[in-house]
Symmetry: C2
Subunit: 337 residues, 2 copies
């Protein structure tokens, strides 16, 4: 080869390499396989953020809402906040020894896993009220922060906060890079999720809408004011409560909404009822190997609590919402894979 | 003069002019007179935003909250939202003719200004419930937007939305330019204030915390979902409710809080109870000529509703909160002056 051709070849290789690097760099969703789901997200972002596009959305109105459990992180076989409540029971019983012989606390204290797994929704509510309320906001925040920093999931032996879906983390970042404000709209406890949302998802506490209790303002013995968590619901952020909670806490209709269970249906409907471009997506848990398979993929209930969301997926089909198959649409599930 | 000296002189003049322009440009609070209040604001911003300062506040935690009525705009002699409710009464009576002979609607319909001015707090609440609830969120937003775009204050003959205090608009902008998220935390209706907050204050709806009612999710005859405003309070955003509302809707303790009446006391206490640099300020209405004089400046009640905030100003002195004298600290009150 002449020196001239050698230089030419080198130049070609170099530009191919940098083009590939650029391409890799500019794919905002590297953990997604090409397909309808990835395309729906990219098309939505391009359509709503390209100046002059007929479906352009002004930056101030770019709101995207995400369910958490089962949409941003693992919810199976049990919500991690329920684990938090169960693990808090010994401390509660220590403070109120009379609870040791009262159900459902007695069962939880027995450590009998099978019996605990059979606790009813009503039992779980009793446990939630006993473990989440009656303390100061500051004490609760300290306890919850300590727990989420150390408690581990039984299957992956990792903190729950590492069990977020890498493809969804990419969607959050991609939307934010395009001027969207990302919100979590969760049936979980607002105060609980706010203790880690910034660290785990890059979502600040003020952009977390969740099931919320009242607080009561008072003063300690030194006259310093503090808030106490009261056992009184202000917002039950599930089902219709998600649309109502979005109005209460955000005051704008989202342009994009992501969910996975029946509790997310109204949030997606409410989002879809707005004008212009709207993106409604559902995460289908159909990957028994890499995560779990339940719900419409299998006929098994969504969570321990036993909601079936077949009707939701039927409606999704009717309304043209996009279903994300974890098995087919996601190259990887977790960042640590 | 030799050409050389002429050029030198011209250069000197030019640099003096541009230095003056720069100085004018860099005063973030041009409508404020020099004094303790202006200094407190500038010191707070510099202390909390200068990297390496012992009181540096990370950008994510820069939250500042502002009462609206009497702090950001005129509240005397009557809250503009009360005017809105009163002016909505004919439409409500038209829809429900049986109210025409029921108090307090009868008095409002009579047009007797003196009698209307004597309506009790309880009467005003009845009027508020009848005029603010029972309609869809979308209808309410349309009505309120129409009203605030046209209704005028009796004294200045200008839209209420022009009666914002120019010095406070400068504080909002100055804080935002330094990475603070500015929130309105108002006893007024959250849905009402959100209809104009962005246009009037540059504060988006999601950063307005106010007295809020529940909404109810439902479907119209075409199956399109919508929210109806229910006559059921979720948050009474006054007094202790302001601290509780901040926790519910923001989830962080503010670093700066601005108020003017007794309803703001707990917000300022809660702000002041945090660590590090905190700024608590009260607007004193002591300018009968350019605006109004009432409250601690005169012994007259704060508003039509009759709250006295003398105790608040006594506490301010004890706790070292900064009082803003409208008369002495503000060069101008309104942008249109």
């Amino acid at each position: 080869m002449t020196p001239f051709f050698r230089r030419l070849l080198a130049a070609c290789v170099a530009s191919l390499v940098s083009a590939a690097a650029l391409l890799a760099q500019t794919d905002p969703l590297p953990s997604w396989n090409d397909g309808a789901a990835k395309k729906a997200i990219v098309d939505f972002v391009q359509t709503t953020t390209t100046q002059g596009s007929p479906k352009f959305v002004p930056p101030a109105e770019r709101i995207a809402t995400f369910d958490q459990d089962g949409t941003l992180w693992v919810e199976h076989p049990i919500y991690s906040q329920v684990m938090y409540c169960l693990e808090r029971v010994p401390a509660v019983v220590k403070a109120k020894p009379e609870l040791a012989n009262v159900e459902p606390f007695k069962t939880v204290m027995s450590g009998d896993r099978e019996a605990i797994a059979k606790l009813s929704m009503e039992d779980l509510e009793k446990i939630a009220f006993a473990t989440l309320f009656g303390m100061s906001v500051d004490d609760f925040t300290a306890e919850a922060t300590k727990w989420t920093s150390s408690a581990k999931d039984a299957r992956w032996k990792r903190p729950y906060t590492e069990l977020t879906y890498q493809p969804m983390q990419e969607v959050l970042k991609y939307l934010r890079a395009n001027g969207y404000k990302t919100y979590i709209v969760t049936g979980g406890g607002q105060d609980f999720v706010r203790t880690y949302s910034e660290r785990v998802y890059g979502i600040p506490p003020e952009q977390v809408v969740g099931t919320a209790g009242a607080t009561k303002y008072g003063y300690d013995k030194d006259g310093r004011p503090f808030l106490t968590k009261e056992a009184k619901l202000v917002l039950n952020d599930n089902n219709a409560g998600k649309a109502e909670g979005i109005h209460l806490m955000i005051g704008r209709r989202p342009h994009a909404a992501f969910g996975n269970t029946a509790g997310d249906q109204q949030m997606l409907e409410y989002t879809g009822a707005g004008d212009g471009a709207r993106l409604m997506m559902l995460v289908l848990h159909d990957d028994a190997k890499r995560e779990y398979a339940y719900g419409p993929a299998t006929g098994l209930p969504d969570t321990k609590v036993g909601t079936f969301s077949q009707a939701l997926y039927d409606e999704a089909k009717k309304k043209g919402w996009t279903v994300i198959s974890m098995k087919n649409d996601w190259k990887k599930i977790f960042a640590f894979e």
